[in-house]
């Protein structure tokens, strides 16, 4: 597949230059700049850039090969890193490469199976694996990784899980932010301009897509513009011709809290809200 890709543009460029060569006489030497073939350096850069990698991150590369992603994360972005690779020879090579790059103290490489390694401490996970393995990894990643952890996949993403961002620069890169688990029933209390309120708040979830609303006596207030970004949640409830914008964070599995702004404008005051989970729903993710 890679071979086929590199041949096509080469043929196209050859065609273009053949025309030019015919027009000019004598024929120029064949020092034609080779058309761009996906460069791993560029791909590594793009993955780390898309992941917003920084000094506070622990980057785990599953299937780390010669270690280039983990080493670049440490060298160019100041992160710490861990590479997991099945091939012991590549692991040894990675360790040598890390020493050469002067980042041996901040990265480590482990010979092992991507499906068996403990990745709970990761803040960024990079994947450049075939689709079958990516799918097999998905439940493990969702179970182990903290909400807000960024997963960057190269070429092959997760089926059914829409990336939070997708960038195409020569190749396709997908960013997934691990969503907090929020499905179920919550007891939400908020101090709104109308007074202290308590709602029964329900959420359904499929990965980062959430929907739901609040039960009120004799009705239901749908949660508009409901969004989940890692552990950050936001939604709008409209009651009595006033919109209430909730923003907050999910802590663990039983609590979320934040601030709510009621009514229009820039100066609407923020008050506190808090929700505790009553029933845990099934995450459809």
């Amino acid at each position: 597949m890679k071979a086929a890709r590199s041949v096509a543009p080469a043929a196209a460029a050859a065609g273009l230059f053949a025309g030019a060569a015919l027009a000019a006489a004598p024929a120029p030497p064949l020092d034609i700049p080779t058309p761009y073939l996906p460069s791993t350096t560029v791909a590594v850069d793009e993955m780390l850039r898309l992941g917003g990698v920084g000094p506070d991150d622990l980057v785990v590369d599953l299937g780390s090969g010669d270690g280039r992603i983990v080493i670049a994360a440490a060298r160019d972005y100041g992160a710490r890193g861990l590479g997991v690779e099945l091939d012991p020879q590549l692991v040894a090579e990675s360790q040598a490469n890390a020493r050469q790059a002067g980042v041996a103290d901040r990265v480590s490489f482990r010979q092992g199976d991507a499906l068996a390694v403990d990745i709970r401490e990761a803040t960024v996970v990079t994947l450049y694996l075939l689709p079958g393995l990516v799918e097999k990894l998905k439940p493990r990643l969702l179970a182990q990784l903290k909400p807000g952890t960024r997963i960057i996949a190269h070429d092959y993403g997760f089926e059914g899980w829409k990336p939070d961002r997708r960038v195409v620069i020569s190749k396709t890169y997908m960013l997934y932010v691990v969503p907090a688990s929020v499905a179920g029933r919550w007891r939400l209390t908020a101090s709104l301009p109308s007074g202290e309120r308590e709602f029964e708040f329900e959420l359904e979830q499929q990965y980062q897509d959430i929907r739901g609303g609040a039960r009120v006596p004799g009705g239901f207030l749908p949660a508009f513009e409901a969004r989940l970004d890692g552990d950050r949640i936001s939604f709008v409830l409209v009651e009595d011709r006033v919109s209430h914008r909730f923003e907050g964070r999910v802590s663990g599995t039983l609590l979320m809290e934040g601030t709510v702004r009621s009514g229009p404008g820039r100066n609407s005051g923020a008050t506190a809200w808090r929700a505790t989970r009553v029933v845990r729903g099934s995450d459809e993710g």
Partner: protein, 279 residues
């Protein structure tokens, strides 16, 4: 053009006018349907209205959008409305909200209104009028925000869309980038000549480039108002390939901005400037 001052109201014109209305009902292009306050709030929020803005509401009815923009978001603005009775109500509403010095209401045809001062235009008009208005709005300053609810501009895709009881749409007037552009990039080891050819449909840009004469793909071209961003992969130096990220502002026949090459410790930032060579 008639500007309805609040003085009118104080003089008791409001009381005297209803009789006249029977004889001269205003001829309207669209029926008056008031926008719910929650939707007004959402429209102004999605447009990120602030004290620097001039908000113009086309078909301003009782003035609620312009009045809310002034009172809650600190903006200035004016409303355009054919129905003088609604304009009187709007002026009264502005007075009650204490913003009569920052808003006005014009009794005139919105298609004959000078919109050049507007930074935000809000509308709630029937679909056929929206399509007529589209041409006018696309001629406004790049970056001008346009907000509507329920009705859209056909094949001009909104830049943002939210749903809070109703659909609210935001468009940002795109700069004109269609044509051929050229720039010199002082990158080591040799200066590069970048030719850029862009086609444009509203904010959607299709771009083709030649780097020192070699066809090069343009990735992720985006145009938001006057801000143009795109990336190309620079393979001139085979030992040091990197992606060039362009971020610039369109000013007529010139685009100027910054260019980032490489990432992390390797990152270099420099200025770039492209000039239009053909339309």
């Amino acid at each position: 053009m008639k500007i309805v001052f609040s003085v009118f109201v104080l003089l008791g014109v409001l009381a005297a006018r209803p009789g006249l209305a029977q004889e001269h009902p205003p001829k309207l292009d669209a029926p008056y349907v008031a926008t719910p306050q929650v939707t007004v709030d959402e429209m102004l929020r999605i447009a990120n209205v602030g004290p620097q803005d001039v908000v113009v509401d086309l078909g301003s009815g009782d003035g609620r959008i312009v009045v809310t923009a002034a009172k809650k978001f600190g903006a200035r603005g004016f409303g355009v409305e054919l129905d003088w009775r609604l304009n009187l109500q709007a002026v009264e509403n502005a007075r009650q909200a204490g913003v009569e010095d920052r808003v006005k209401f014009l009794e005139q045809d919105l298609f004959k209104t000078d919109l050049s001062e507007a930074t935000v235009v809000t509308t709630y008009l029937l679909q056929f009028m929206m399509l007529r208005l589209r041409t006018v709005l696309l001629g406004l300053k790049p970056g001008t925000r346009i907000v509507s609810h329920d009705f859209d501009f056909g094949d001009w895709r909104p830049d943002q869309k939210t749903y809070v009881r109703k659909n609210v749409f935001l468009w940002i007037v795109p700069a004109n980038v269609a044509g051929r552009w050229q720039m010199r990039l002082p990158l080591p080891p040799v200066e590069r000549l970048l030719d850029l050819e862009m086609k444009q449909r509203y904010q959607d840009v299709e771009a083709h480039a030649r780097l020192n004469g070699v066809p090069t793909q343009v990735w992720e071209p985006k145009l938001v108002g006057d801000r143009l961003t795109f990336a190309i992969v620079d393979t001139t130096d085979r030992e040091n390939e990197a992606t060039l990220y362009f971020d610039g502002r369109v000013r007529g026949d010139v685009i100027e901005g910054e260019l980032t090459r490489g990432v992390g410790a390797e990152r270099t930032v420099m200025k770039w400037r492209a000039a239009k060579t053909a339309r």
